[in-house]
């Protein structure tokens, strides 16, 4: 009985995934993917990983879905369906995928007992740092280098997107995010929602130290508010040459680096925090990172520059 909701969820998830891959129209496929994203965040809650559920809902389903929907609209009718692969190739691929899935399923069904875990080790040092959310501690203390490098990945991705700007337009602003026709309800929403959204975003960041939430989740909510305002055409996307924009992008990584190097003087080395000040330092780094994430995510969705600088 208690497994029934899980069964239903898994079944819906797989059905939505099949639909996403099998749909003829690419818009249907994107909508299928967004449904998968929503169901996935439920699955993450069932796996007791609330932080991941929030991230999946915000980044995996939400931001990625928006990106793909915009791509659909922008592609228009240009994208012609290429030649469909031959039947033998399809069967071969199908068999290969089935073999991989079968191997994975076998491994999952016969786990190691007792399951190996780092949870006790992670919990043991949490009181030293004064933080209550173990996932935040892993992200910003135990494995901070991965989080730092991942911010570098985001900056590189932004440079990669901007690199696609035609030379003449370099420095200009991305194309407008406005929908085809301006509409009252969207403008209304873009005026009412952002104040509330910003409060929620800040709450998620602040809360992340002790309870589920954190930089990504909060940063994505902030980015969503900015994108909403741009989509309702209340604000234009900024020009990519603006120093202020660039500085906001690197602000988070720079604060993180400074905190990391400060560890050489005030603690035991790079990315190590003194016990008494660990929490304020981590919250400060998180806040700076969230700001940068919001700006980067927004600019990633906006795309390369499409207008010459003024």
């Amino acid at each position: 009985m208690s497994l029934l909701p899980d069964f239903a969820l898994v079944l819906f998830l797989l059905m939505a995934a099949v639909w996403t891959v099998a749909a003829r129209d690419r818009r249907d496929s994107v909508i299928g993917f967004i449904v998968v994203g929503l169901l996935l965040s439920l699955a993450w809650i069932r796996l007791n990983s609330v932080d991941v559920a929030l991230t999946e809902a915000a980044v995996g389903g939400g931001a990625t879905g928006l990106l793909l929907l915009r791509a659909c609209a922008r592609l228009g009718p240009i994208e012609t369906e290429g030649a469909h692969p031959q039947l033998p190739l399809r069967i071969l691929t199908g068999v290969l995928c089935a073999v991989v899935a079968a191997a994975l399923a076998t491994i999952v069904l016969f786990p190691i007992e007792p399951a190996p875990t780092l949870a006790p080790a992670a919990a043991a040092h949490m009181s030293e740092l004064g933080l209550g959310n173990p996932v935040t501690v892993v992200l910003l203390a135990y494995r901070a280098i991965d989080t730092l490098l991942e911010k570098v990945v985001l900056v590189l991705a932004l440079i990669g997107v901007w690199a696609l700007t035609p030379d003449l337009l370099w420095g200009g602003a991305p194309g407008s995010l406005r929908a085809q026709q301006s509409s009252g309800p969207l403008t209304f929403l873009a005026q009412v929602l952002p104040p509330v959204g910003i409060v929620i975003g800040v709450y998620l960041i602040w809360n992340g130290a002790d309870r589920p939430g954190g930089t990504f989740q909060g940063g994505t909510v902030l980015a969503a508010m900015w994108l909403l305002v741009m989509m309702a055409d209340l604000r234009e996307p900024p020009e990519i040459r603006l120093h202020k924009l660039r500085q906001l992008v690197v602000f988070g990584p720079v604060v993180f680096l400074v905190a990391g190097f400060a560890g050489f003087w005030i603690a035991n080395g790079f990315l190590s925090y003194p016990p008494d000040f660990a929490k304020p330092i981590i919250v400060l780094v998180e806040a700076a990172l969230a700001l940068s994430i919001a700006v980067i995510l927004g600019m990633l969705v906006a795309g390369p520059a499409a207008r010459a600088p003024r």
């Binding site: 085809q180 026709q181 509409s183 309800p185 969207l186 209304f188 929403l189 009412v192 929602l193 509330v196």
Partner: protein, 97 residues
């Protein structure tokens, strides 16, 4: 007292579920975009409202109760705006190709 509160929750959430069911049936059965939208939004607003109402007495403290209400308000706002947008597209001759 507890029994009464629990009974209220069960009744309210069940009623909410019923509205969701009705709305979904409407979504599947009604003929065109506008009527479908009508069925969906009416049922969802009411159904979701009833579920939140039913859950309110179960919340452990005031803060989580306030969060529930905020969630309800945000869903109202998002649902209303989204259905307006869909209706706009629909009345202008279907979704853009």
């Amino acid at each position: 007292m507890n029994v009464l509160v629990d009974a209220f929750t069960i009744a309210s959430v069940s009623a909410g579920m019923f509205f969701f069911l009705a709305g979904t049936v409407g979504l599947l059965r009604f003929p065109d975009t506008l009527t479908r939208l009508h069925a969906l939004t009416k049922a969802d607003n009411l159904g979701f409202g009833l579920i939140v109402l039913g859950l309110l007495p179960q919340s452990p403290d005031v803060a989580s109760g306030v969060k529930l209400v905020v969630v309800w308000l945000l869903v109202q706002l998002a649902g209303a705006s989204a259905s307006q947008l869909i209706a706009q597209f629909a009345s202008k001759g279907g979704p853009p190709a």
